[in-house]
Symmetry: C2
């Protein structure tokens, strides 16, 4: 399988481009480094099961004649879209287990073909999984099709054009299947940018971002894609859900907010009017050191509570800074950055610096002020590169007999110290029980005046054949600590199927029945991504 | 009737405090001034029908024994809560017509009593209108009770306490019945403020703001109450809808966004955790002149698109500036203000001033920079006083045989010039046809990077006995022009019953059935504010 835009082959099991999977030498070096980090003697370097030797069930339904032009049952197409790209997803793919593969893959090129596909699927009793980049880490695109005659993966990447740009309103109408680079390249022709950079940016799509309420580039203010949506168009079995292009409204419950987070259960997003902006020209950044995570967290809190809106406001604990090779000094870091297309950010950075110093910070790097070219230097630059490379690293970890993953939440500031302590205790305890030991690192991905969004990474030694169970034990312990501590089950990874039980505990009690009622109106046959967000039971 | 907080009597038909209704001399002076503005010969000054001579139907249901402690059928209580405070509402009240009065008024003091009231009403087949300040201008609290045995007004103002303050997270848990001054006084004890100042601030309540997605103090960024809500608690016949306190989340569709804008149709909001902030210390403001509205609008667009977030960014057309006695020079104005509790706003004001001058603006007043005390001077100060006084003015207009109202919308910048031209043409045409002539003024209440929220005021000579029809003709023409021009039926006045037909045209086609399905889940007997947002038909 190749990406529609670049033609460059994608891995059928690991993150992203196949040729970006670290080669044997690179993985041996990584194994070396991690034995050190984890205090192990040795980490074996294994190879994935080749696709031709993998287990892939035969399709349960043939390609329908009416969709013959846009459907395929090719094994590579089905295997590649079988799972998302969480650690357990990649583990199954590495081991050659594609039991949950969709029966057919549909690649519509127009909205009319999306409508055709839904009509056929409803009549044939086939479940439909709306599919973008397939980068879900919560089993958002994995459907077993129980109760259906089969499963169709509806890959939206054929709809990838910027259809219209309204320069006066800084808005663009973009098709849902456009990936980050594809839509940015088209916007760049107009000197504009969406400026939404989730870690999956290279592969994930606008439709996927909207369906999962993706977290993006901005650490403050415009944190979620939610705030960048001006209007959405979604095809549902009950008709087209098209909201009006509006900068703001007070007319009833916001129609777009019912689509945001619907994870493909209510309809297939086909296009959206998005709020775009001129490309930034002025950038100011600084990195501050603190003795520990809580001190850096307090500084981040003070910066956002001062009414400053840094585009970057990342907190790294000492382990995170070391893991990503940003700092080896054992200090916690606060990375602050401001950007603007219109005016220098020096005064704002200076205010943030004052607040950060008042909170006990010392300058680690910077301040840097740039006009025009992008700033790729310093601790912030190292951090950005690590950010892009990390998902590939996880593919490599799978090949080293490790158990690893990331999980994230958000909570109010008053709860953060206790929540963090409980999460660390529970996760370390579970790693110890399941794996003997393990490494846990923490950062903040986004920061609000009323609370942070902490993000955790764990790596532990695994035992062949037991890694799925080891992962599940650690994940369960972390999840329980997050919910008990008052956090959300997910700040920007979405619910999918992995977080379904936690989501049921988090949401208002009567909301489960409300979600089912909404789905019943829009998708009466229940064919759309069944099992995501909630199960079919009342 | 008196307000629960001040004990000061409220008018039974006009805006706000009874003693603030302009006396005869003041209204004679106003009549004098308006004959000039409107080019009329004379405006008679009439007196409202006294409550004891008004038409108020007998209650259809007796006060139930189980709610005897908290219910009343006193005529004054029922008349005062019969209508909202739009022009046609006040016109009916002025004429002594209280045909739509609720049968009984319930004044719960606790959430348990709210639950009791709903339980009784559901069993008795009585419709329930959740009620805050009663300041709706869209018939949001007027329910005829068709199909029910009666109507209960559920006045929430007995629940008016700030229950908890979390200083670390800048959050406060506030009961839904607290009015603006009542909640601000309690927050002030902690040096905090919600900083939400709709024009109805003195009387409207937190619950009403949330239910109607009220527009507030900030002209940019935090424009609607939506963005200040951290978590909501809503009592529904299907159970308590309580969202988790979170600074942000990506877990499914946002539960709070389904409550925001629900206008009492899904449940009774009893309390909410709100995002609060320290009281501002640093204020910078400037007023710029432009030759006309479009030039001032363009400057406002450039300011917000530059990524500046002024707390005040009001545009006044020359007529609006004259009507509110801010300027008599025939120029359009742009009022800009920045505020912060943490740092001086001089650099931000200077950037905005640069942008405004580049757009052709000249300084009319300021710049002013203040630290500490509130700035009440200059054009912005005159404007603020007029803002607070205007609703009282409309009560006076009712007594002068005039037809008047305000209406508002929001649209993208690309559509604004055509929409504005069409609205002006349609409204002036309708005033000419219905009234012979009339005055129309325009301002922006809120401004977004992707579009403005224009706000219109009209005043025209009315004919006794025909004013309701004259108003309806003008309102219909304006509404049609707004919807045809791509605007929203309401930016912050809500849907209520007045905008129900327009809202049906604006929202996504399948959304009507979805709203009914949500209501059916939460309020299976359909007792909650029936007729608001949508009618009962499929």
């Amino acid at each position: 399988m190749t990406t529609p835009d670049t033609g460059r082959p994608l891995s059928h099991w690991a993150w992203g481009y196949a040729d970006r999977f670290p080669d044997r030498a690179a993985r041996e070096a990584l194994a070396q480094q991690l034995t050190l980090f984890l205090g192990l003697e040795h980490l074996p370097v294994r190879e994935p099961v080749a696709l031709e030797n993998a287990h892939l069930p035969s399709p349960r339904v043939p390609v329908p004649a009416v969709l013959a032009d846009i459907c395929t049952e090719a094994p590579a197409a089905r295997a590649q879209r079988c799972y998302g790209r969480s650690f357990p997803d990649m583990l199954r793919g590495f081991l050659g287990d594609f039991a949950a593969a969709p029966d057919l893959v549909c690649l519509p090129r127009t909205e009319a073909e999306v409508v055709d596909a839904l009509r056929w699927a409803q009549a044939a009793g086939v479940a439909v999984v709306p599919y973008g980049g397939g980068t879900s880490v919560v089993r958002g695109v994995e459907c077993d099709g129980a109760g259906f005659t089969g499963v169709m993966c509806l890959d939206m990447r054929g709809l990838h054009r910027v259809l219209s740009v309204d320069r006066a309103s800084l808005s663009a109408c973009i098709q849902a299947g456009a990936t980050g680079p594809v839509l940015e390249a088209q916007l760049a022709e107009h000197g504009l940018t969406l400026r939404h950079y989730p870690q999956s940016f290279e592969f994930s799509t606008l439709g996927g971002w909207i369906a999962t309420r993706a977290g993006g580039h901005f650490a403050t203010l415009y944190t979620h894609i939610d705030d960048l949506v001006q209007a959405v168009r979604m095809v549902t079995p009950a008709g087209v859900w098209q909201s009006r292009r509006l900068p703001g409204s007070g007319a009833g419950p916001d129609p777009d907010r019912l689509v945001l987070g619907s994870e493909g259960a209510f309809g297939v997003i086909t296009e959206a009017w998005m709020r775009v902006r001129p490309r930034p020209v002025f950038r100011s950044s600084v990195t501050l050191s603190f003795p520990d995570l809580m001190a850096a967290a307090d500084a981040a809190r003070r910066v956002v509570q001062a009414g400053l809106h840094p585009s970057n406001c990342r907190v790294l604990d000492p382990r995170e800074a070391r893991l990503h090779a940003v700092s080896f000094d054992g200090d916690a870091l606060l990375l602050l950055g401001f950007e603007s297309a219109d005016h220098p950010q020096v005064p704002l950075l200076e205010e943030a610096l004052r607040v950060g110093r008042d909170a006990g910070g010392t300058i680690k790097d910077g301040p840097r002020h740039r006009e025009g070219e992008r700033d790729r230097g310093g601790a912030a630059g190292s951090w950005r590169q690590a950010f892009i490379d990390t998902p590939y690293l996880f593919g490599a970890l799978v090949s080293l007999d490790l158990v690893a993953d990331t999980f994230e939440t958000a909570c109010t500031w008053d709860r953060f110290p206790d929540l963090h302590e409980a999460v660390v205790k529970a996760t370390r305890g579970a790693m110890k029980a399941a794996c003997g030991k393990g490494l846990l690192t923490t950062r903040f991905t986004h920061v609000y005046p009323d609370g942070p969004a902490p993000y955790y990474t764990f790596i532990a030694p695994g035992r062949p054949g037991e890694r799925a169970a080891q992962w599940a034990a650690i994940k369960a312990a972390a999840t329980e600590a997050i919910l008990a501590g008052g956090g959300t089950i997910t700040h920007h990874h979405a619910v999918g199927r992995t977080h379904r039980a936690g989501y049921a505990k988090e949401r208002p009690q009567p909301m489960g029945a409300v979600l089912r009622a909404v789905k019943h109106q829009l998708d009466p046959a229940g064919i759309l991504n069944p099992g995501v967000l909630f199960d079919g039971e009342g």
